[in-house]
Amino acid sequence: MSNAVSALEKTSFEGFAKVSETGLRGMITLRGDLSSKPVKDAVIASTGAEVPDVRRMSRGSIGDVAWMSPDELLIVCDYRAANEVVTTLLAALDGAHALAVNVSDARAVFRIEGDGAREVLAKVAPVDLSTEGFQPDDFRRTRIAQVAAAFWMNSDDSFEVVCFRSVAQYVFDVLKVSAQEGGEVGFL
């Protein structure tokens, strides 16, 4: 564990918004019937958060829970807590049909902050990032330029972007181009 490093080891870039890799983050893929009691209970038991609405993220004391698809959630938590969350989930699911797996190492996370954060994303993701269209705790599974990604908005108006670890450098480079000085759009 002491050898664990994130893909870009917290590299950052400052353009008209700031883009930084956040370091390792705990992430769990949970697949199951999101309307079923065992899944709902297991999510609360393991994270303290409710099963979120479509395209939303709910917050809990141990982890935050994001809506990925009609039968998939993404649990985001401290990197070191991930295995325990999986254990708690599996115990609480008690044999109900579901799949919970630690995918923390398969991912990279970026934070985008500053006044232009919305526009940095709106150049590379086909998402309505207007203030009406995207608000804190909104979550979207989409793409960043040419690769799969998901992002959500925090209460401090910053965004966090999740992508696969292998394309961390690509996503960082794309976000850098997107946030380059002089690239402010002034629309969002």
Partner: protein, 1004 residues
């Protein structure tokens, strides 16, 4: 001559002079100039040469419709050809050169084509393709190649950056003229989220030039009020220098924003392509004036009447001292009046209409301008510049009744609404007899997914040409758009504009009406592609009745301006020749983009490092540091080999194999796909996916399996590990991970939705390292930890979780090389540390990394197949002798039924064998085994082909695998494989397993 006037120029900042060059000549202009207005101010009327005949050409228009004034702009990484001078804003230091001539603009050798006009008629290219046979290749093509092309091709890398931007609004309004502003106000006041875009840097369009009053104020003041009102609306966004490039299905609009074209020194992107999703689109795109077809209408100095007026009013530039105005409508009188007001001479207005006109005509007459009714131009005099016109009766055949000296001609053939964006997605047009133009048919708008129209034309883009009707129409359009977007339309009143009654125009498609061949061959329709009235008539005579065919035959409207000036005149000429009504001939298809957009804007950010995503394993940096030679595998870059300084790739591969077989080597196998399949029906599911039985695999064990498509063809392979009763981990090929995961989900979601199975692609969760070779166990044991990796503790084809050193590891005893081998997965974040630890522990065994080529050679020595080498989408497992991996017990699996078809069970299918060259050489890749005789096409018969071929360091000779007719029954037979040089190489058919057939080495 053309020159800068003392007064006028409402768009100029005369306090700021700018320097620029044209063909190396130093010139000056003002801030606010376009390149075209600045060139005119410097008496540079001639701006280029035409495409086919290299005729001298001057600027004709003042906006996006300009066909002639195309220049090479900038130098080096900022160089771009075919830039319209009329839409290029002047900036300090701009450099431009004219195009399409040699050696110079003034003297062009290519103009010889001009004197050979008769030899380049319509359909010239097609005719030369046909006859005489030798002529195209040896005579015409070399000539055409020399003289073809407009601007030069850029030679340097583009120095600028580009980007996309996604936007979501209720109403997009294209065009910021009076109509666009008015529509935006109505839609904005209704509460719609509005995006208003204007391609020029200015709001208001041409209304301030044309004049008039709205709400009792001069129209320029009204525009200023509107702009201020819109700027104050939070729900309205206004963007200048942004063109509506295209309208697509489902309310998708492309906006092309030229962010820094006018400020190339600024930071940031040059162009931004807006990808907009909107509920409604208002096209307030205005109208374009049509030229008149008379002889010599392409001589520099002949311009659109509106353009002559624009240059005077907007830029304070005269196009000539003496301008003859020729028209078929009242609007062009505004030009005469503007010129007169600027102190310039208008010797005569030639009005093709036999009877007078409206108030504007009276005004012109009152200013003392001579007006000649029923007259037209027989021909324009001059070569590189207009020197005069010969006047004739419009109704006649062109006998000159008078000659008048002048240095400019302002022509107007009426106005055509810009219907492009309306038409992009299928909006239909109707022919308006009164205005002699096509306009949108409101009842047949392009429709969205619900069958409801989503484009609304506004202002003169919808037909009306007078200020009062334009303003009222646009107000209604804005309201309608808001309503259609689900909002309540505003109750604000429409603006009231002063009526200025104009007399009806009269269509004039040829001037004079009875012009003979001598005049028609000098009457241009399409300036950029040099298409004349005579060409279109010839096409019609030769049977090209469809407007689309005539377009392609004559190249009418196929130049970079896409026929903005020529289309209507051309099809009217065609209709005249065919004796058909114009609407029966119809228009050609309008396609995006409205004007050419940069390739950079289409690519967006995708260039250089981010041209394509490059996937990197957690150990990638090590490979880079070792200067590995990479090969692309999907979007990954995998090390092909690790050459040392001065070492060839072949030598490196040989060294890596020898080291691995003799001691120990490391392979970064992180890219292999890893998919978890879990659920009570997981066993049933993997039994369907794989050809062999998987459900009886015991937890802790591994099994190699094959996957086929439903058509029976081999699709992927890999080792399946059973994790627990309900869970399997399926390894896929590197390139197959995403595809196979998608394949699994497809079956689960669409066909077997009631099976209790979930999948997760965990490929990137792990760094996976193969530790391979007789010393592999020693290296792992040196690291310590709690995992027993002995022969008994972890037998061949078993897996185990535990600690290796400090690392949480899962070790698989599987081998793709034939050696003692462990594939060890650790969390990706620890992958590099684990790799380094293995390298350190293995130092005493001279451990070294090996690449994909060593991997390939070693598996070929063992006779293991490789997806993509032995398979190509037409191969079934039976072809490869893999019958042992096809379950006969299972009721069904994907591909089972297909593999029972006649063609699949045909004994004549080529089958896999090993091949060993007689002389020890390596069979060339892709080589075929030749058979006796030729086939029906005179080609040599074949009896097999090579699928993998390598030099084997272990055997020190060439080995190969191949598919051969009746191969497995022909062991020991020598057959011949062809080589590139025409000779052949002999190879003996043998067992594909060349190395350690009994598997003793991997099972120690």
């Amino acid at each position: 001559m053309s020159t800068r006037l003392a007064n006028g120029g409402r768009l100029l900042n005369k306090g700021k002079q700018l320097h620029f060059t044209f063909n190396g000549k130093q010139m000056t202009g003002f801030e606010g100039d376009t390149l075209a207005s600045a060139l005119l101010a410097n008496d540079q009327m001639m701006m280029g040469r035409s495409f086919k005949y290299h005729r001298p050409r001057g600027v004709v228009a003042s906006g996006a419709e300009e066909p002639n004034a195309l220049v090479n702009l900038g130098t080096g990484g900022k160089f771009e050809p075919n830039q319209r001078a009329t839409t290029t804003e002047l900036f300090d230091g701009l450099t431009s050169t004219s195009q399409n001539h040699w050696p110079s603009l003034e003297f062009d050798v290519g103009a010889i084509n001009n004197y050979m006009t008769r030899f380049f008629p319509a359909g010239f290219y097609y005719k030369t393709f046909m006859f005489p046979a030798f002529a195209w290749k040896h005579v015409f093509e070399p000539i055409v190649r020399q003289s073809a092309g407009l601007g030069q091709v850029p030679k340097d890398r583009d120095a600028d950056t580009y980007e996309h931007f996604y936007a979501y609004v209720d109403v997009v309004i294209v065009g910021g003229g009076i109509a666009g502003l008015q529509a935006a106000r109505a839609a904005g006041a209704s509460g719609a989220k509005v995006l208003l875009m204007e391609q020029t840097p200015h709001w208001g369009g041409r209304a301030p030039v044309d004049g008039g009053e709205v709400n009792g104020k001069p129209v320029a003041d009204h525009i200023a009020d509107l702009v201020a009102e819109l700027e104050a609306m939070d729900n309205v966004t206004m963007r200048t220098r942004m063109m509506g490039a295209g309208v697509y299905d489902h309310g998708y609009v492309l906006g092309y924003e030229r962010v820094n074209d006018h400020t190339p020194m600024n930071a940031g992107p040059r162009h931004r392509l807006w990808r907009i999703r909107t509920k409604q689109i208002v096209t307030a795109t205005g109208a374009i004036e049509r030229p008149l077809s008379f002889a010599g209408n392409d001589i520099p100095g002949v311009m659109l009447a509106s353009a002559v007026r624009d240059y005077v009013v907007d830029y304070g530039v005269s196009s000539g001292d003496r301008t003859v105005v020729v028209t078929n409508n009242d609007d062009a009188y505004r030009t005469a009046i503007a010129l007169k007001n600027a102190g310039l001479e208008v010797p005569v207005i030639l009005d093709a209409r036999a009877m007078g006109g409206g108030a504007l005509v009276d005004e012109a007459r009152a200013m003392g301008i001579r007006v000649e009714n029923g007259k037209g131009i027989a021909k324009v005099k001059g070569g590189k510049r207009v020197t005069g016109v010969a006047i004739c009766m419009q109704a006649g055949e062109g006998a000159a009744v008078e000659e008048i000296a002048c240095d400019a001609v302002a022509m107007s053939g009426g106005w055509s609404p810009v219907v492009h964006l309306w038409s992009h997605c299928g909006g239909k047009l109707i022919w308006d007899e009164d205005q002699a133009h096509f306009r949108p048919d409101a009842g047949r708008a392009p429709t969205n997914q619900d069958g409801v129209g989503f484009v609304i034309p506004a202002g003169s883009a919808n037909g009306p040409l007078d200020l009062a009707a334009v303003a009222a129409d646009a107000h209604e359009a804005g309201k309608a758009a808001a309503k259609a977007a689900g909002l309540k339309a505003t109750r604000k009143a429409a603006p009231k504009a002063g009526e200025e009654p104009e007399q009806a125009m009269e269509p004039v498609w040829m001037m004079p009406q009875g012009a003979g061949p001598e005049l028609r061959i000098k009457s241009w329709l399409d300036y950029q592609n040099d298409v004349k009235v005579s060409d279109v008539r010839l096409a019609a005579q030769e049977g090209y009745e469809s407007v689309e065919h005539t377009k392609r035959y004559t190249t009418l409207g196929m130049a970079t301006d896409q026929g903005k000036l020529s289309n209507i005149n051309g099809l009217a000429t065609l209709a005249g020749q065919l004796n058909a009504p114009i609407p029966a001939v119809g228009t050609t298809t309008f396609r995006p983009p409205y004007t050419p957009i940069s390739m950079g804007s289409i690519a967006g950010e995708a260039r250089d490092e981010v041209f394509q995503p490059l996937r990197r394993t957690p150990i990638h940096q090590y490979h880079e540091d070792q200067k590995a030679f990479f090969e692309p595998v999907g979007q990954w870059r995998r090390p092909y080999c690790f050459p040392k300084a001065g070492e060839s790739h072949a030598d490196a591969v040989k060294r890596e194999i020898n080291q691995t077989r003799a001691s120990v080597g490391l392979l970064d196998a992180s890219t292999l796909g890893k998919i978890i399949v879990k659920g009570t029906d997981a066993g049933k599911f993997v039994d369907m996916l794989y050809t062999n039985m998987m459900s009886n695999l015991k937890p802790g064990k591994c099994r190699y399996g094959l996957m086929c498509s439903e058509n029976g063809f081999l699709s992927d392979d890999g080792v399946v590990a059973r994790i627990d009763e309900e869970t399997f981990l399926c390894h896929t090929t590197t390139g197959g991970a995403e595809r196979i995961h998608g394949w699994m989900e497809d079956w689960l979601q669409c066909e077997w939705w009631d099976w209790k199975v979930f999948t997760a692609n965990v490929t990137e969760q792990f760094a996976q390292i193969a530790v391979v070779g007789p010393n592999a166990r020693k290296v792992i044991e040196k690291l310590g930890g709690d995992m027993d990796v002995s022969k008994e503790g972890l037998a061949f084809m078993e897996w185990k979780d535990g600690k290796i050193g400090d690392f949480d590891a899962r070790a698989y005893r599987i081998s793709f090389s034939g050696e003692l081998s462990y594939e060890i997965a650790v969390p990706a974040s620890q992958g590099r540390a684990f790799w380094d630890a293995l390298m350190e522990a293995g130092a005493e065994f001279n451990i070294m990394p090996y690449g994909t080529e060593a991997l390939h050679v070693m598996r070929a020595e063992k006779g293991f197949i490789m997806i993509g080498d032995e398979t190509d989408g037409t191969i079934i497992p039976q072809d490869l002798g893999l019958n042992w991996a096809i379950s006969k017990k299972k009721e069904d699996f994907l591909g089972k039924r297909a593999q029972l078809r006649d063609h699949m069970t045909d004994p004549n299918r080529w089958k896999l064998v090993g091949l060993k060259t007689v002389d020890g050489s390596v069979i060339p890749d892709g080589s075929y085994a030749i058979a006796d005789g030729d086939n029906a096409n005179g080609q040599r018969n074949t009896q097999g082909r090579v699928t993998s071929t390598y030099y084997s360091p272990t055997l020190d000779c060439g080995i190969a695998m191949g598919l051969v007719h009746n191969g497995p029954d022909r062991m020991g037979e020598v057959i011949e494989f062809n080589k590139v040089d025409g000779s052949t190489v002999k190879a003996e058919i043998c067992d594909p397993v060349f190395y350690d057939e009994d598997g003793e080495k991997q099972n120690v």
